[in-house]
Subunit: 455 residues, 2 copies
């Protein structure tokens, strides 16, 4: 049964909403509404079934914060659910409007408000590539971005992501200092605007929009380097892992991406096939150009460098990071939807042992794809392995078997916030905060499952 | 007995040298020669006695590489020892001319040869502060520098140091990528110039000048931040340690120095006394200005911030880093020469346990002063504790007791290279390399004790 059928969805007074919205732009075409209501939840065969009927009733496209305030005030008055959404690049239904109602499309709220060395203030709907292009002339770039940089927004990244390209240097968004501030609108008949700084900003990190509508973000920026995309091929996954580990631990080499990927995953990288020799596992890296020789020194002749070129993000190019993070999975899904994936965090204190144990335990079924990251000040591996899917029971067994062996799993096959977050969770009282900013529980009801409306 | 008395020093044909040197500048005044022959070896009461009579016979001050070549060719022909030296800021006699002969004063060989984003090529005798001032207008700075930045040279740092301010972010000089290249002159009748790149450059790292005369260095540079000097006072050393540990592990906070110092050491910081309340241990930090709020968030109200001000390096100012690394020891020695110090590396995997064990074991005798650093990709603590000196026997017992408990000691109370290096040693075959570049063993004979001349 799908969620939509099960939920006996309430119907909402859309006519009254219409009257209250005034000139705030809306989309009423059911085809468009349905299309905008979807993200990449279909990466999960389980969610693909559960969420396939999920749709909002109307899309509202605020032009500015005043439009957001007007919309959420109306929704609060009429008890209509609101789900903020932007690029729609989530892979486990982060912003699917579970109870219908208003889909608040944030993609027209764009633009840099100010920037200075080390930080940028930006409207939440700003595309991440556009943001980087606006700060790079001043010598800066975002510390990290998802592999969906070219289509995702900064607000969506903070609300739905956890880290990405750059996390090998700076850790995830959950690290203190990686979100400097967030401005949010509360969901009340008289909405308030709150400025959440430092620790407080973690209350909106990876809450999938359930703890307020993010309208602005203040993000730290890093000095921009010219990045070189590099692929190195190895005879075995173990060799690719060890080379990646050595690079990740090399504090003298400035890097943004260190990604070991086991054969046969690279066989699916059709546009990159010259760099992916038959039978070889690969290491995908982004290295700051001045330190490429130092990177090669660390490899010390291990592996075969099959590709090295400046990172390009123009519309006609495919940057190498679009083969990493969850784009690795997408590359396979482009031609074969029989696979899915997991999100893992390996134990830092016995990293190699644990990685090799899992690779052997699920040989041919769970195909290793690691992402070296910093986590709480230490290098470890997160992982987005490709899973050859058979049944939901087997998938959950695989998850259990990982957890029993000390590998943490942020399950991307459940749509609820609490069920899936685990190690990706921000250290903040998001549940308590929701009572303050969304007392009626109108922000995508059902997403933060443990929340009980306070009025 | 002092080394000078023991060594039955050979006498050299200085008249013949004179003839071969031509117009290369020299100093012949015995008072000046003796003064230039000394460094801060007197930090060690043991070395203070052993090395007190050590002196070169003549100081040669090359203006350029041609002068260096002419000098060492002459020395090779006449079998006269050569000891390169620059700022003379070493703390354990790194460049004391054990066998006399020529002291090669490199401080006139200065200047940036070229710089580009991420790297700089510089003559070895360039003062480190001057170098930083020349690259900062382009937005860069050295990744790390010793606390003696204002007086030391870059060549001396590479030849005699191991890391310093900045190593909490980039690790030590021994990390791949932290020395990009070194140009050296060999000690032969027909000297050769060798360019050592990447790994090969480690052959001159911390070899105290025994593996060739460094004339040029290519160093990686880091994006320059405006640094804020911060002091936070705590009721106990354990609290200062834990706060420092949390800051050191925070990858979201850009930092250059994280230094816990136990009371009563701060009682000796007379010029900083307003920031050092009676009885308090302190944490000394340098934090990039845009991330100061994130730093304070991590402290979360722990401790009392007693000082925060932009880092200043002008001649009339004392930058905060001159209370860290081995300047901590110097601050005490300014008024009381009854103390000395050690160089420690704590085990990364039981850092707090080990630090606290040693603090308790030697309470009142070995006063904790830690430096958080990255080492092989992990955060750990090096340490330069103040030792209340009684006897050489007790000092060596203290060293042994540290080693027995898993704390590595780079003994700064021996003048030989091999006896003191330990964890500070570069991973390179320096002994084998010396046979190639100094076959007769003329570079400060006695310093690399295990070397046997090959011709």
């Amino acid at each position: 049964m799908t969620l939509h059928q099960r939920a006996e969805r309430a119907s909402y007074d859309l006519a009254a909403l219409d009257a209250l919205l005034g000139d705030v732009p809306v989309i009423r075409d059911p085809i468009l509404i349905r299309r905008r209501s979807r993200d990449f939840f279909w990466y999960s065969p389980i969610l693909a079934e559960q969420l396939k009927e999920v749709s909002a009733d109307i899309v509202v496209k605020p032009r500015n914060e005043a439009d957001v305030v007007r919309t959420v005030a109306a929704c609060a008055k009429l008890r209509i659910p609101v789900t903020a959404r932007a690029g729609g690049t989530g892979n486990y239904g982060q912003a699917m409007p579970l109870a219908g109602g208003v889909l608040l499309d944030m993609t027209d709220m764009t633009g840099v408000i100010w920037q200075k060395p080390g930080s940028v203030r930006v409207r939440a709907g700003t595309n991440i590539l556009a943001l980087d292009q606006e700060i790079r002339p001043n010598g800066f770039e975002l510390r990290m971005h998802p592999s969906t940089k070219r289509t995702a927004t900064i607000g969506g990244f903070v609300a739905g992501g956890s880290g990405g390209v750059g996390s090998v240097a700076y850790g995830g968004l959950r690290e203190p200092g990686n979100i400097l501030a967030a401005r949010i609108v509360t969901i009340e008949e008289e909405p308030r605007m709150l400025e959440l700084r430092q620790d407080a900003a973690q209350k909106v990190n990876r809450a999938y929009g359930t703890t307020g509508i993010i309208t602005e973000l203040e993000m730290p920026t890093a000095p921009a380097w010219p990045w070189i995309d590099v692929v190195v091929a190895f005879d075995s996954f173990a060799e690719a892992f060890r080379a990646g580990r050595d690079v990740a631990h090399a504090d003298g080499v400035v890097k943004k991406l260190v990604t070991p990927i086991a054969w046969p995953i690279p066989s699916q990288f059709s546009a990159l096939k010259d760099a992916c020799p038959e039978g070889k596992s690969i290491l995908v890296c982004m290295i700051a150009e001045p330190f490429l020789d130092s990177f090669r020194t660390i490899l010390g002749g291990r592996g075969q460098e099959t590709y090295a070129s400046p990172s390009r993000e123009e519309p006609t190019e495919t940057p190498l990071y679009e083969y990493a993070w969850n784009h690795t999975t997408l590359q396979w899904l482009k031609t074969d939807r029989s696979v899915t994936y997991l999100q893992l965090l390996y134990p830092q204190d016995r990293l190699e042992e644990s990685v090799m144990e899992m690779a052997a335990l699920f040989e041919g079924e769970v195909l290793p794809h690691l992402e070296f990251i910093r986590f709480a000040g230490r290098i470890t591996c997160s992982a987005l392995p490709i899973v050859r899917y058979t049944t939901a029971e087997r998938l959950f067994e695989i998850i259990r078997m990982h957890e029993e062996r000390g590998v943490m799993v942020a399950n991307p096959h459940v749509y609820g916030l609490e069920g899936g977050s685990r190690h990706k969770r921000a250290e903040a009282d998001q549940l308590g905060f929701k009572a303050e900013v969304d007392p009626m529980g109108l922000l995508n009801p059902g997403k933060m499952e443990s929340y009980v409306p306070v009025r």
